[in-house]
Amino acid sequence: MSQSTTNVALADEATPFDWKRLIFMFTGIGLFLFVYYCPPWPDAIDPLGEHFVLSQQAKGALAVFLLAATWWVFEVVPIGVTSLTIGMLQALFMIRDPKVAFKDFMDPSVLFIFGSIVIGMVFTKTGLTKRIAYKMLSIVGERTSMIYLGCFVMTAALTHIMAHTAVAATMFPLLMAIHALYSDEDKPSKFGKGLFIGMAYVAGAGSIITLLGAARGAVALGFYKDIMNVDISFFQLTMYMFPVGWLMVFILWGFFMLFFKPERAIIPGLKAKAQRMYVELGAWSTKEILTASIVVVTILVIALKNFVPALGSLDKTGILLCSTIAFFLLNILTIDDLEEIPWNIILLFAGAMSIGFCLWETGAAKWMAVNWLVLFQNSPPIVFVLGMAFFVMMMTNFIMNVAAIAISLPVALVIAPYLGVGGEVILFSALVVSGMPFLLLVGAAPNAIAYNSKQFTTGEFFLWGVPASIILMAVTWFAVTVIWPLMGMQIYVPVAG
């Protein structure tokens, strides 16, 4: 019913003042100023007696690192703006030459990430993901255990070719629709919990397998090349990560079948409806065929670099950007799509590269690493590897996993030779755990997307994340001690010095 109205005013815009944001903003700034203007800190001394001086620039790098970590954790400003702050502080406080500091923002790894985001975009735009999803549903049938498996396998498989966040966003409406068919109730079901938490978990597990699944891989390889002078190829990364990622996917399926056993064994009618949905999509469009061809060729060329000498000299970022350009040349994407690129995310990766390189080039990473060494001095190397993995796993739950990699990897790679640990094992074990933040929603975008289903609480997510994280650590241990050595990875090296 309408109200009788004689005099309607305009409501005052009352936005409550965000004290928390202000507190963390100044905490970050305070940490930066305190560390930057502190008197010189003592040298770090390694087990061989070598001194590592913390120069003013290196102390500046630590100061920037503390500000960035604070702002990233508490999202004081959009994460991309924190990245801009990283570049700005380096330039204005003479921590690194501005040309160098800002060049990292367009590092090949960042452009590689840009290219992979575009692939996700084009899959969504052309409807390829829909086609794959409906096909999968019509194949897996009506048994809930198989629907679990089908959804998990499809989520993980899609993360091989597009960013796991885009995959989660694609899967979300599909899973919501499946759940609607499963239960008419608005209240959560065991099947719903398993479906959505599982989707978030396997999106992470799948995303570690190729460089297209998440930005952290490209960022980590960028650091590795800079610090260790070794170029790890797309194929090498996939080779080592494939067994671990898929092992995790199937273990997680077992985990959800055990703890979230669906209340009902089948969803009647799902298969027929999925087939109808697939038929309604019609025949493959030219754009779909072109997109699939371009992506397959691109991935093939990048992977074949390892085996075909003629392709060896081609840069993987250059190859990937060929696909981006091809999408626009063929009018599959337009200027409007280009405007939809999430710059907040791109800038986050750019800033992560910049702070990582900054810590390394100023010597701050070495100084921190040598001070950390004391903790591991008498530990077996495996304790260091798993300790490092555990640290990254915990941190990736609090901050974007690419930031966790940027913060920890440069330091860990410096410590490794002192303990006789190979660089590769540090790199890959860090990449395994950083892809799977199972405890907190803020750890990864798929977690937050899954939470929109309202099938589980943050408390439940954390609770089930504990055993899942223990499983992840066990799988990491298994990879370090069994899988990777069998594949020829050098786990232990002669101790430095």
Binding site: Q3, V8, T124, A169, A180, L181, M277
Partner: protein, 171 residues
Amino acid sequence: MAAENPIVRDFIIPIDRYPHLRETQTLSDAVQVLMSHTCGENEYLRYAGILVLNEKNQLVGGLNLQDILRALDKRFALPKGHEGKAGEYPNLAILWEDSFFHKCSEKKDIAISDFMVPTKKIVKGDDPLLKALSIMLHGNEVVLPVKEEGSIIGVIRLEEIFLALCGVCKL
């Protein structure tokens, strides 16, 4: 001459004639108020929007048919804030149509404040009509509240602007 150009005030629907509700009222009230304004022998809806007021009689937001229908089921909304492009999945309705029709009546008691859209754009009574049209075309709006001396005096709709311009431009 500028003085002869149409201004917003001459084409408004006064506030007392345009549907409006308190923010504490329900989705069902919103539907009832729209259905109470019909025209023609087929009883077509006369209005496709509602203004929302708070207990102090202040304008806080608005609703259109899409907002009301979207409130019936969360599956109409896709998660936002992910990296990449949001997809469209109309075929998925095949999977959830049964549960939608089974449950949509349960939503009739949810408060308008849960799904109204806060008022962002307003025009003044003496603003040129073309300014209102520009705001609508750029912002994909079809209704704008009209303010005069601190009070909301009514709304200007795209339909009235359309008819006015057809007359002025002799289309």
